[in-house]
């Protein structure tokens, strides 16, 4: 290996710290923080925003700005995951699992500070890994073929074993459902459409972010709305600032391991960014001795995924820079940016432009430090919002969730899918089905199917002659062993179960029947397709039917299996009175898209906020009006500057309106 390129490290740092580079890096970081905190916007819009400006710029400053922008969004989107339980994406959903319960305990600031400190370490490790990547990246790309990728997916899937919740059968069924939802859309092998009802919206499958928002954000909002006064159910605990840093120092080994995992997952082909958070969360649970608090607000559950997610950013750059293969939408735009400033990514970059690579690495490290500083300073004031009466914040969160969802495909299908998934998510939460398992299944579904198909086509049984594949497979077997032996399986759905859950079992049985109906419908649809398109969904459906049938039979027999019969509504009714039914709250959520269908989202959002504040929060007219107008101005800005799109309604069909009203 040739390490002579390391000599460029020093001069690149000097270059970065002098001249215009630092200014542009700061600009990038600032912009990245803003778009990261804004709901549903993210690094993609930020990159699109700066692309026209960097044309013809010197490569150095342009790169500093691009790196600054893309590397901090993973830090700043932690705010919404931790404080309001709204995941910034499918990968950050793992942070919600423990971060949000911490906030509910009044420890939002501590959770945030731990998350940021962990991100910093992760980001620096990611930058460090990138330093050595250009000697190791090529051998790794060549060693990890489609067969090895299949084994990696299987290894990741075994982590579900730790996240099934108390009832293993229900947890595995959730995972199978996730795998099945992932098969919706055109099949990779034959390009036949599966379960799309001839809609073009479903032809590319349900976007991950919709499932993440529907399964996690909406049920939590509903839960807080009906039970509690504010997100933080207790007094805010201390400043939290130091406590969070202390948490990270105490678990430093975990932070380093998860950062390494994150970086590795980023480098290895075939896994993708969505699973990084989940893999590190699974590892965190697996490697901890006391697992009782996971899913209920264990700070390690925040530290693990956050360090991994940020370490991945450095690793994300590797395929983009060295092979010209972008791993995500943001990286694809980054690649576009490279072309615009005249830098040709690929193997020649290492030999011809090693100085630029170091500039990127140093920018990455510095951007992480800057972002952590800013986020830490903001953590406490923003966390104090969680003590405010929830009905005052809820309408904004609901608007934000629906707006984020619409950015997925800018299609009305986004809003409908979100509502459907949200309702199913609420009932999963109510009846104790692991939503984490569902999401892992979904994130891995397409990769599992496609790598399985490719492996069979290319290797057949010869795959068992490849040493790396076998090693990964052995790791997977060990991981399954772990899962079987463990006593507590984390899930945010587990709570104390009393006799109340066993009184009326029929709503729970009906839910199982509904899931069963969905599985069978998918199976019938798949059975009409060619073998290569149907074999995967049919196999998973068979497993799902078996697991669901076992669950239903046990329920009817009123088996005492742990976590089998659970009904949060019944528990609630038994313990207190006055809580509103799930059904009523669904109506409250659906009111926003319903209004948007008539007057368009841009007009619907302020109207919704106004009436929500007036009726549910009983705020004054002037106050409600002021907040509604504030929202309208904010939405106008992100529409005009960041190109965020809003769902049109009937009104926009008949009358052509100027932006932002017409968009």
């Amino acid at each position: 290996m040739d390490f002579s390129v390391l000599q460029h490290a020093g001069p690149a740092l000097v270059q970065l710290l002098t001249g215009p580079h630092l200014l542009f890096l700061l600009l990038g970081v600032g912009l990245g923080m803003i778009v990261g905190i804004l709901p549903g916007i993210g690094g993609l819009s930020g990159m699109a925003l700066i692309l026209p400006f960097i044309f013809g710029m010197d490569p150095g400053p342009a790169l500093a700005m691009m790196v600054g922008l893309t590397s901090v969004t993973a830090t700043s989107d932690t705010f919404s995951s931790v404080l309001i339980g709204v995941p910034g994406g499918a990968g950050t959903a793992a942070t919600v699992l423990d971060g949000f319960p911490m906030t509910q305990r009044g420890e939002g600031a501590r959770a945030l500070s731990a998350a940021f400190a962990a991100s910093l370490v992760g980001g620096l490790i990611g930058a460090f890994v990138l330093t050595f990547a250009f000697v190791a990246a090529r051998p790794i790309l060549l060693a990890i073929g489609f067969g090895e990728q299949l084994m990696l997916v299987i290894l990741s899937l075994t982590l579900v074993g730790m996240l099934t919740g108390a009832n293993v059968v229900k947890g595995l069924a959730s995972c199978a459902l996730g795998l099945l939802i992932g098969t919706i859309g055109s099949s990779q092998a034959t390009a036949e459409y599966r379960f799309t009802f001839d809609t073009i919206y479903l032809s590319d499958g349900v976007p991950l972010v919709i499932i993440a928002l529907g399964a996690f954000a909406l049920p939590e909002i509903v839960d807080v709305l009906r039970q509690h006064h504010a997100i933080a159910q207790k007094e805010l605990v201390g400043s939290g600032w130091l406590a969070g840093i202390r948490d990270v120092l105490r678990n430093f080994g975990l932070v380093v391991r998860c950062s390494a995992l994150g970086a590795l997952t980023g480098i290895l082909p075939g896994l993708g960014g969505g699973v990084v958070g989940w893999i590190s969360y699974g590892h965190t649970v697996q490697s901890s001795r006391d697992r009782s608090q996971f899913g209920k607000g264990d700070v390690r559950g925040v530290i693990g995924p956050e360090s991994a997610n940020n370490a991945k950013d450095g690793a994300d750059l590797i395929p983009t820079l060295f092979f010209g293969i972008p791993g995500s939408g943001t990286m694809a735009l980054f690649l576009g940016g490279l072309v615009v400033i005249g830098v040709t990514p690929g193997r020649t970059m290492v030999t011809n432009q090693a100085d630029l690579i170091y500039l990127i690495i140093w920018s990455l490290a510095l951007a992480n430090v800057l972002a952590t500083g800013v986020s830490m300073a903001l953590a406490r004031p923003i966390a104090s919002l969680t003590a405010i009466k929830f009905t005052l914040i809820a309408p904004f969160i609901i608007v934000m969730v629906f707006m984020s969802a619409y950015q997925a495909k800018t299609d009305w299908g986004d809003l409908i899918a979100l509502l459907v998934v949200g309702v199913v998510g609420m009932y999963m939460r109510r009846f104790g089905w692991s939503r984490a398992a569902l999401l892992i299944g979904l994130v891995l579904s397409q990769r599992l199917e496609s790598s399985l198909y490719r492996t069979v086509q290319i290797y057949g049984l010869d795959i068992f002659l490849r040493p790396i594949a076998i090693v990964i497979l052995i790791l997977a077997v060990i991981s399954i062993g772990f899962a079987i032996r463990t006593k507590s399986r984390t899930s945010s759905e587990d709570r104390e179960i009393s006799i109340a859950s066993r009184k009326n079992i029929w709503p729970q049985v009906a839910f199982v029947a509904l899931l069963l109906g969905f599985v069978i419908a998918i199976a019938i649809d798949a059975s009409q397709l060619k073998f290569l398109a149907s074999v995967f969904p049919l196999s998973v459906a068979a497993i799902a039917v078996a697991l669901l049938t076992i669950t239903a039979v046990r329920m009817v027999r009123r088996s005492k299996a742990p976590g089998l019969l659970f009904d949060a509504d019944a528990e609630l009714a038994a313990s207190e009175t006055g809580a509103k039914a799930t059904f009523y709250l669904v109506g409250l959520l659906a009111a926003l898209p319903a209004l948007a269908a008539i007057v368009g989202f841009y007009l619907a959002a302020p109207i919704y906020v106004f009436f929500f504040l007036r009726i549910l929060a009983q705020a004054s007219i002037r106050f409600s009006l002021a907040l509604a107008l504030g929202l309208a101005v904010f939405l106008a800005i992100i529409n005009l500057v960041l190109e965020a799109q809003f769902a049109p309604g009937l009104l926009q069909q008949f009358i052509s309106l100027p932006r932002p009203f017409g968009s």
Binding site: F55, G56, I200, I325, T410, V641
Partner: protein
């Protein structure tokens, strides 16, 4: 140069400052003057796709050359092999020149194959720019390839290679038809992105592949220099007189038609040639196009044509970065691009039937 840089910095700071203020675009005067207007360019593929880079490049130049210097915003609406985005374009775009779209091979193929999801009347769109891109097929040397192109094809016929790509109904279609016409019976692994299939090719999991000839220098040449791969043929390039000649990027590599004649002893002819040529028109000559929606008045089309001609001379499109994207191929505007567009739609009912039958027998794919 320094001055220009600080201007751009100023513009960027301006954009950030705009986060604090709301500006509503004032309605402008006449139809041909786009002053103060926003033009939306719909790109039916993902951010970072070849079409997006191509489209953004032209957007940057057109912002300078369209009358009134409007702002052009890019909207990526991907899905269904470009069908979702172009359906949306067809539905939303008014014939006022304020909405344009990038169309590519997929847009044509889904239309020709009569995909159920297609809701757009492709022949009614008004093209104002076409960018051709040559294609290059190559294979791994471990198949025993050597210097003689004809011998190489014979080796590929004798030992069927493994091909990794996105699938027979995608933009791979012309390449797959060409392999088949030569007599190469490769095994196909589908549903792969270009990045995945390239990685698989480098690992030796696949040993037959094709790429844009424009990416020869960055993607393929290093493999050839390392002794890993050999170019087997290009699709060639059509001159103004209608003759298909060797690709200007790779004049040493024989074209498909040359090799066909050498392998089979007679030139490709009849309906097979007609179908191949129709696909060639779409995939090579009209690889990427910019269009206005149906019903756009001639004046507006002319305004765009003139602006595009001027855009091609701007520093944006004359820059080395632009050359990396567009390569050496001549760009067509106005009537010339219209002719290429028509050429892409020239397939008769009978030829379409032949193609569907070929898909059914060779790839067991039934299209409607």
């Amino acid at each position: 140069m320094q001055n220009q840089k600080s201007l751009r910095l100023g513009a960027l700071l301006g954009a950030i400052a705009a986060l604090g203020t709301v500006t509503l675009a004032a309605p402008a005067a006449s139809a041909q003057d786009f002053a103060g207007k926003r033009i939306t360019m719909i790109i039916p593929y993902q951010e970072g796709s070849g079409s997006t880079i191509h489209g953004r490049l032209f957007a940057m130049a057109l912002e300078k050359t369209l009358p009134g210097q409007p702002t052009i915003v890019i909207r990526n609406i991907d899905g269904g092999g470009s069908v979702r985005g172009i359906n949306q374009f067809h539905k939303d775009a008014k014939p006022d020149g304020l909405t344009i779209a990038a169309i590519a091979t997929g847009t044509f193929f889904q239309y020709i194959l009569k995909d159920k999801a297609v809701a757009y009347p492709l022949p009614e769109f008004k093209p104002f720019l076409t960018s051709p891109f040559g294609l290059l097929a190559y294979a791994r040397n471990d198949l025993g390839l050597g210097k003689d192109p004809v011998e190489n094809i014979k080796k590929l016929i004798a030992n069927p290679p493994v091909y990794g790509g996105s699938g027979p109904t995608s933009s791979d279609l012309p390449a797959l038809l060409s392999f088949d016409l030569l007599g190469i019976k490769q095994k196909g692994v589908y549903g792969l992105s270009n990045a995945e299939s390239r990685a698989g090719f480098e690992r030796g999991e696949f040993n037959l592949k094709y790429d844009n000839a424009a990416s020869w220098n960055e993607e393929v040449k290093p493999l050839v220099d390392d002794g890993v791969a050999t170019p087997i043929f290009t699709f060639g390039f059509e001159q103004e007189d209608g003759k298909i000649v060797r690709d200007p990027m790779l004049p040493d590599v024989p074209t498909f038609l040359e090799l066909y004649e050498k392998i089979h002893g007679k030139p490709l002819s009849g309906i097979e040639y007609e179908v191949w040529k129709a696909l060639f028109n779409v995939r090579v000559m009209g690889s990427k196009m910019l269009v206005l929606p149906q019903g756009t008045p001639k004046e507006i089309v002319d305004v765009y044509t003139k602006a595009t001609e001027a855009a091609l001379k701007t520093d944006v499109l004359q820059s080395p970065q632009a050359k990396l994207v567009l390569s050496v191929y001549p760009q067509s505007t106005g009537a010339a691009s219209e002719a290429i567009f028509k050429g892409g739609l020239s397939m008769t009912e009978e030829q379409q039937k032949w193609l569907r039958e070929w898909l059914r027998t060779r790839h067991s794919i039934t299209v409607n």
